[in-house]
Symmetry: C4
C-alpha cells in the first residue's frame, strides 16, 4: 500500500497514531502504552516524520521486533516521499547542529591527541547537547562518578629498579580469550547518539587493536550488526545482558547472541531500576523548550498556566530520562538462588556478574560459581555514593584475597590513564573496563578514535610497567602499590 | 470606641505608645519592657500602623494572649481606616518587593524542580532579603551548618545485588504513628516570613503526602490554626516545646496543644540561650538603613556622630537578632532530674528530647525514660562547632548500640537527598527530620512545594533502597553503609 | 644651644650625621653602627628632619636611653622651627595617607562590628601599607600563621544538655590575678604604627574590661608610659622580656619593670633569631621605591645598573626586616640550666616561658619550676612549619596531662572566636592570648576598639559555655571537645 | 675544502643530507638513522644552516664524537659565510624572542629575589617557550611532580627552646667531600636551553658557594667544559651516569670522567625508558606550527587532509619528546647482580644509585654495597604516581632505620625552602638535591643566580636550625619533625 503525507497527518493522536520512519508508515497506536520510553515522546511525532528522533537511539530491527506485521502500513507514495525528502533537506539546521559543524571542522588532527582526557575534550565539543548529556550524566549529584576517578589518585606506586625490562609484554587473557592489554570495552549504550556508525566503530577499533568489546543490550545497533562489524570471525565479543522480566524473552536473547558467536554473558546486576540522572532529564526538557520556540510555539509558552501548582504537582511526570526508558521491562527480582542457576541452565557461555559492589557479594559470587565479577557502579550512573570500584577491589584484596583465586575479577569506572590500569592489575584485577572513553573516542573520530585510545593506553601501560619494574602482567603484584593517607592533587593539566 | 489616626499619632513615645494592627488600636506602653524582641522595634511604630511588621512574625492570637483586654483600645473610625487603606495601597513598593515580584513571575513550573537544591534555589530568589537571612542564618561562621550536610558525603553505601525489589515500601512509624517515608518536618519557625499561608502550607503538604509535622512553639500561626489546617482530623501533629521559665505557662501550653490533638511533645534542649546568627543581625541593620534612607532620613544619617567610639561601645546593644527575641522568656535552668519528670507528670504524650549532641546524653536520655531523642544541633543555628548529627549517630552506633533498643533515635540537619535519609536509617535512625527545606518549599510554591519535595524524597529513597538491595525500611542495616577515610568531592551539579 | 636648619643640613653623611626629632637636634654619628635597625635607615635622614620616621616605632625615651647627653645638641632656632613646621604642614600627603583618610571617613560605626574578623577588615583598610605589612607578616610562606587558626576548626564540641546555666561566669585567674574572661593580651610590638596612642589604647581597653595586658619589650611606648596609662593603680600588667645579651642590661630592665609594678615576667624563648618575614621586607623596599620616585629620583632609578649581577649578589644585604632590627642585641645562648635560675635570682615575680612548642619542653619547663608556659609559635612569625599551639596543647593533654597540674599553661595564635577560647580552656589552657587582634582593634578605633573586641569575646565565650553546658570555667573539661578526623570547611562568612 | 651555500643547499634530503653548524659543513646522511632525537628533526635543516637549533641542546663535541672525520666536509667559503652571517643578523626575531627581550629588560635586580619561588617566577618569564616546557614538564598529569613538593607541607617541626645557638654551622660532607650546606645540585640536563653559558653557570655558582654539582650525562656542555669551569682544581664534581647499552661505551665514559677528576658516579636507575611528558611534546608541536606559518607555509597548513583518521592513527609517531631522544641508547636491562658489580669493577669512585623509590630497594642497595642512594622520582618526570621521595625517606626511617647506618641516603624532588632541607636532614638524609631550581636560577641571572639561591638556602637553613634548637647538622634528629594527619594549606604568598 502506498500512502500520502496527508493521509498520515490525520492519524495524529492517541486514538490513532501513525508515524513515518524513513520511507515507511507504521501504526503505533496500540504500542503507545508499551513503549519503554513512554507514549508522550511518540505522540510528539503522531502523524509526522519521526526518523530523526528514532534513528540514533534504536537498532534498525527494533520496529520489526516490536510491531506486528499488520501495523507496518506500507511505503509513502513517491510524491509524498519527494516532498518529505525536500523538507528533510530544507530543514533549517538547529543552533546545536550548526555549532557541531563548526567544531567538527576545527577539531585537531587525530595524532595530536595525547591522552584520553584530550579525546574526551574533543568529543565534548562535537557531540550534540543531548548526546553529551546522556553520555556524561550520572546519578544525583554525580559524586560517585567523580569519586570513581579520584580513587585512583589515592594509590601510588612502589617502583622497583634494576630489573630487566626489554620486550615488555602487556598482554593477558579475559575468560580465556586473548587481549593485547588488560583492558576491555565495558558495555555502553547508544553509540549512534555520538556517531552514525555507532557501536560498529568500537567493534572495528577493538578488532584492530586486539581487545575485547562487551556489547550492551541497549546498543543502538542490533547484535547481528555488531557481530557483522568484526574485522574477522575470530574476533571475540562479550554480551552485556539486561535480563527481561519475561524469562522466555530473556532466554531467547541469550540463545540469539550465543548463535551469533558472542563468547560470554555479562549479567547486569547494578541496574534493576533506573538511576536518577538529572543532567539527562534536564537536557530532554531544554530540547523540548527550544523545539517549541523554534516551531513558533512561543505564544503557547507564554500562555498563563491553567493549573494550580498543586494540580500540577499531583500529575504523574517522567523523570527517569533515557535510563528509565531502556530498562523499563527488566527483571527487578533477580536472586542468587534462582537467576544464576537459571542462566547456567540456558547457556554454556561463561557468566560474569557486572555491578558487584562489596566484599560480601564478591564472596557470594565466588560461591555461586560464576566465572567472573565486574566490580562496577555503572560509571556512577545508578546510585550516588556507591563506592568507587577501585576501593572495593582494595577491600577484597585486604579482607578476602582468596576471591581472586576462585574467579576472575574486573573493575570499571574512572579509568583514564595507563597508570590506572596498572594499579588495578597490581591489586588483583584481571582486566579493566572503560565505557565512556570509547563512546567519546568514536564520537570524535569514529573507529580511528577507538584505535587511538587503545594505542595510547598501550603506550602508557607499557611505560608504567617498565618504570615499576615489570616485564609481564604476571609481574604486577600488590606490593607495587600503596594507598596513601593524604588527598593528592587532582589532574588538571 | 472609635479612634482617629490623629489621636493615635500623639501616642508616639515610650511614655505612651499606641500602635495600629489591621483596623484596631492597642496601647502597648506597659508591654514595651516585656516584648521578647525588645522595645526598640515597637517604638519604631509608636503612634503608627504596625501591621506590615507585625503580621509575618506573630500568630494572630499573640496580642490577645499577651495584652490585657483594657489595652485593646478599639477600632479606627471609618474615615481613618479609609485613609489608612489608601496609604497601604499607595505605599511605594520597596526595591526588594519589586525584585521579588520579578522573580515570582520568572520562577520555573513546579514540575521542573528535580531535587531539594533546586527548590532552595527558587526560594532564595523569591524570599525577601530579611526572610532569607532568618531562614538561612546559622551560628558564628556557619561551619556546623555546612558540616551537617558535608557529613553525609563521608558515608558511602555498600550495595547488595541480586535481591528481589518489587513493591519496595519505604513507610515506617514514628512514636507509633504511620509515616509514608522515614522523614518528618522538623520544627522551623516563622513560616509566614516566606509565604502568607505560613505553617499551614506545611500542614497541608504533610497531610497530603502522609508524613508528620513537628510544629514549632514559635510558629507564626497559632497552634489552633495549624491544627485546623490538617487535611483530616486523624492527621498527626507533633509539638516542639520551648519551655517557658514560668512552669505554669509551660504547663498551660502543653495542656493546650494536647487538647488540640497534638500527639507528642518534642522538648527543645539545644537552645537555652540564643545562638549568634550574624547574617540575621546584619540583615536587620541593613533593612533599618534602607528604610531610614527611603524615609528621607538621609540628613540624619549624614549627621556627624555625636558620641565617641568609647561612649558608643559602652552602650547596650542587641545582637541576638530574631533568635534572641523568640526565646527570651525560656527556661535556662532545665535539668535531667527536674524537668523531665515534671513534663512526664503533666502529660501522657510521648516525650522526645530535641537537640541531643553526644553519646553520654543519649545514654542519659534512655535512662530518663523518654520516648525518643532527636540528634540535632538546631541546623547549626545555635553553637558553631557543634558536631554534625550524623557523626553523633555514628558514634552512638559504634559505642552504645544498645541505645537504639531503648528508645527511638532521630536526626536532623543537612538532609537534602533520599540517599541522606537512607544512610541515617541504615545507621539506626528511626526517621530523619528536615527543617529549612520545608520552609524553602512553602516559600516557593506554598503547600504544593511541600508536596513536591516529599514526592522527590520518596522517589529518591525508594531508588536508593532498591539499589542497595532493600525492599523494606527494616532491611536497612548498618552493614550497608561505610564511613570513608577520604574527603569526597562536594555536590555542585 | 640654638641651631639652624642650614647648620644641620651640612651634617649629612656617616662622617657627621645629625638628625632633627621634633624640635631638637641630635648627633647620631657614633650611634650609627649600634642602631639595631642598621645605619642605612638613619642615613636616609642625615641632616634632615627624621620625626615622621622615628616616632611611630620608638618609645619617646629611646633617644634619652641610648644617646649620651653631649650628643643632644640643642633646639632648632625659632626661624628654623617655623620653617620646619610650615614644611611639615605643607608636605604633600602620600597616596597611602590619602587612601587612609578616605577609609577612616568611611569606616562603620563601632557597634556594627560583630566579630574579630570584621574588626580586622576595618583595620586592614585604615592601616598604612607599612604597618599592615608589619602586623600581618609571618615567616616564609606564612603557613604556620594560617595553620594556627585552622587548627581550631579541627576541634568540635561535645555539648551537654539539660544543665542549669543562669549566671554563667567566664572569669578566671592568671598567675593569681583576676581576669574577667580567660583571655589576655599577648605581647605585640609597635602599636604606634597603627594608632598614635599606641599601646596605651590596649592598656586602657584591658583595664576597662578587666583583662590583663602583656607588654612587649618592643613596645612603641616606654614601660613607664604604659604603666601610667592604666585606669587604676591596681590594674595588673605583665612584661614580655626579650633578654639582652648583656646580663646587666637585662637585669636592669627586669628591675625597672618590677619597680613600675609589672606583675610577671614572660620570657620570650621562640625568637632568639629573627624570622624570615618576606611581606615586611618587601613592604620596606616598595616604600623606598615610592619615596625615591616621589623625590624626583626617577632619573636615578632609570640609570643603567653599574654592577654585574655577581657583584650585586655578593653584597651584604639586610633581609631581616623590622623583626631583625628589634632583636639584634638579644641573647642567642639562653639555656635551661643558666638562664632560668638567673632570672629567678633577679626577681620574685612569676616567670612564664613564652614560645614553648613541644611536649618535651613543656615537661622541662615544669621541672625547671617556672610558673607557666605559653604554647606559642609567635603567631607564625618566626619558624614556618612550627606546630599550631592548639595541637601542641592537645598533645600535652594526651601524652603528659600531669603538666597541667604543675604550672599554668596558656596558648596563643589563631584565636578569633569565643569558641576558640572555650576549646583551648576545655583542653587545659588556663587562658588564651591574642596579639594581632588587639593591634588591629586599636588601629581601627583606639581604646574603644580594644573594649569592643573584649566585649565580643565575652559574649561569644558565655554563649559557647552555656551551649555546651558549662556555668563556670571549671566546668570546661577535655571531654567536651573532640578532634575530628576530617578537614572542616573554613570560615568565609 | 671550501663550500658554497648553493652547494650545500642541493643536499637537502635523506638521500644526501648536509647541514651547516657555525661555519662548517657536515654530511649527516648516514647518521640520520642513529640520531637519538630521530631523523625528522635533522631533515628540517637538510641543506641549510642548523646552528640555532643545534647549539642549545648539544655539547660542542657532540659532532666530533659521533661523526667520522670524513663526514666533516669543510668550511663555508668566505662569501657564503658573509651571506650567512648577514642572514643570521637580519633574521626577524620571533614573537617569543621579542617577548623574552622585554622580560629580560624588566626583570628585578637580583638582590630583590627573596626566595626560590621568586627566582622561578623570573625564570618562567625570561625562558623561551620551548625551554620552559622542557624544564617544567613532568610525567602524565604531573601529579608526582606536584606531590613531591606538597609532601614537605605534611611535616611540621617540633622545635626545642633554650639551647645555645651562636655560631650555627650548617656544613656537612657528601661521600666525604665538604659541602657548606646539606644541599647539592642534582643532575639536570640541557642548561644551555636557558642560558648560553649552560652548566658552567652552575659549576661556577657551586664553586663560589661551596656546594657540589652532579653533572648530567645529558649536559649541554661537554664534561671537559664543565670540569674546566671549576673555580679551582679542588672543586669536587659528581657525574650522573646514564649507562649506555654498549658496555664498552659505558666504560669509556666512566674512565673519561674519572680522568677529568669527577669524584663519584651517580647511576641513574629511574629512567630506563622515557617518561610521558606531554607538556614537552605539545611545545614541540606548537613551535613547529608557528614556524610553518612564519615560513609562509599557511597554504600547506590549510590544505585538506589527505589521509583518513584511520590511516593517520596507524602511522608511527614520536611522542617521547626530548626525554626519549636523550636516553634512546641507554641500557634497559640493568640488574642488581650484573650492573652494580660491573661498575664496581670499572672504577674505584664511590657509587650512588639515583632513583631508588621504595624501602625494599633501599635495603637491596645497602646489601649491594653501594656508597649511597638518592631517593628520587626524577622530579616526577618519569612515572606519575611514583611516591614523593620525602615519604619514602620517612618510610625507611620508620621501617628500616638501619639503612641509614650502612650508606648515605639523599633525596631530591620538590625542595624549595631551607625548612624543606632541614626536615629531610632531620629524618636521616645526608644531603638534599635540587634540580630545576638551579636551571631556573642560571636561566634568570647566570652564575649569579646560582650563587643567589644557595645564599638564600643557607640563610633559611641556618634560621630554621636555630629556631628548632640546633647548632650543627648533627643536632638535627628525627624527633624534631612530626608528620601531621591533616592536609596543610599550600604556599601561595
Amino acid at each position: 500500500m502506498s500512502l500520502s503525507l496527508k493521509q498520515v497527518s490525520t492519524h495524529n493522536s492517541d486514538k490513532s497514531c501513525w508515524v513515518i520512519i524513513k520511507d515507511s508508515v507504521y501504526d503505533v497506536t496500540e504500542f503507545l502504552s508499551e513503549h519503554p520510553g513512554g507514549s508522550k515522546i511518540i505522540l510528539k511525532y503522531a502523524g509526522k516524520d519521526a526518523t530523526a528522533a528514532y534513528e540514533p537511539i534504536h537498532p534498525p530491527d527494533a520496529l520489526e521486533k516490536n510491531l506486528p506485521p499488520q501495523k507496518h502500513l506500507g511505503k509513502l507514495d513517491s510524491v509524498s516521499l519527494d516532498q518529505l525528502e525536500l523538507a528533510r533537506g530544507h530543514r533549517k539546521k538547529t543552533e546545536d547542529e550548526l555549532r557541531i559543524e563548526r567544531e567538527q571542522a576545527a577539531k585537531p588532527p587525530i595524532n595530536r591527541i595525547l591522552n584520553l582526557k584530550q579525546m574526551e575534550d574533543v568529543a565534548r565539543k562535537v557531540l550534540s547537547y543531548k548526546a553529551l548529556a546522556y553520555y556524561s550524566s550520572a546519578a544525583d549529584d554525580e559524586i560517585s562518578n567523580l569519586e570513581n576517578a579520584r580513587a585512583f589518585s589515592r594509590f601510588f606506586f612502589r617502583p622497583r629498579v634494576l630489573r630487566p625490562l626489554s620486550n615488555c609484554d602487556p598482554s593477558t587473557t579475559i575468560l580465556g580469550f586473548k587481549s593485547k592489554i588488560p583492558v576491555f570495552v565495558s558495555g555502553a549504550a547508544l553509540a549512534k547518539l555520538g556517531h552514525p556508525d555507532g557501536e560498529a566503530n568500537i567493534t572495528i577499533g577493538a578488532g584492530k587493536t586486539g581487545i575485547i568489546q562487551m556489547v550492551s543490550s541497549n546498543a543502538s545497533l542490533s547484535f547481528e550488526q555488531v557481530a557483522a562489524s568484526r574485522i574477522s570471525p575470530s574476533q571475540p565479543l562479550f554480551f552485556q545482558l539486561y535480563k527481561k522480566k519475561d524469562n522466555k524473552a530473556a532466554e531467547q536473547r541469550i540463545r540469539d547472541v550465543e548463535a551469533l558467536g558472542y563468547k560470554a554473558i555479562w549479567l547486569t546486576v547494578d541496574a534493576p531500576v533506573p538511576g536518577n540522572r538529572e543532567r539527562d532529564v534536564i537536557a530532554g526538557w531544554e530540547i523540548d523548550d527550544i523545539e517549541r520556540l523554534a516551531q513558533g510555539d512561543k505564544a503557547k509558552a507564554d500562555q498563563p498556566r491553567k493549573k494550580s501548582d498543586m494540580e500540577e504537582v499531583e500529575e504523574t511526570i517522567d523523570t527517569t530520562g533515557t535510563a528509565g526508558a531502556l530498562i523499563a521491562n527488566d527483571d527487578i527480582n533477580m536472586t542468587w538462588t534462582e537467576t544464576i542457576p537459571w542462566i547456567r541452565s540456558i547457556t554454556r557461555l561463561p557468566i560474569v556478574l557486572k555491578g558487584v559492589q562489596c566484599v560480601e557479594d564478591a564472596v557470594l559470587a565466588a560461591e555461586a560459581g560464576v566465572d567472573g565479577i565486574l566490580l562496577s557502579n555503572h560509571g556512577g550512573r545508578q546510585l550516588d555514593f556507591s563506592p568507587p570500584p577501585l576501593e572495593v577491589l582494595y577491600q577484597i584484596r585486604k579482607e578476602r584475597p582468596d576471591v581472586f583465586n576462585k574467579m576472575e575479577v574486573y573493575i570499571d569506572g574512572g579509568v583514564r590513564r595507563g597508570t590506572d590500569v596498572v594499579k588495578a592489575v597490581c591489586l588483583g584485577a584481571k582486566a579493566v573496563g572503560l565505557g565512556r572513553p570509547f563512546l567519546y573516542a568514536q564520537s570524535a573520530y569514529g573507529a580511528a578514535g577507538v584505535v587511538k585510545i587503545v594505542r595510547i593506553l598501550e603506550r602508557e601501560i607499557v611505560t608504567a610497567m617498565q618504570l615499576i619494574g615489570a616485564r609481564r602482567v604476571s609481574d604486577l603484584v600488590p606490593e607495587m602499590v600503596q594507598r596513601v593517607d593524604w588527598e593528592p592533587i587532582q589532574a588538571k593539566l
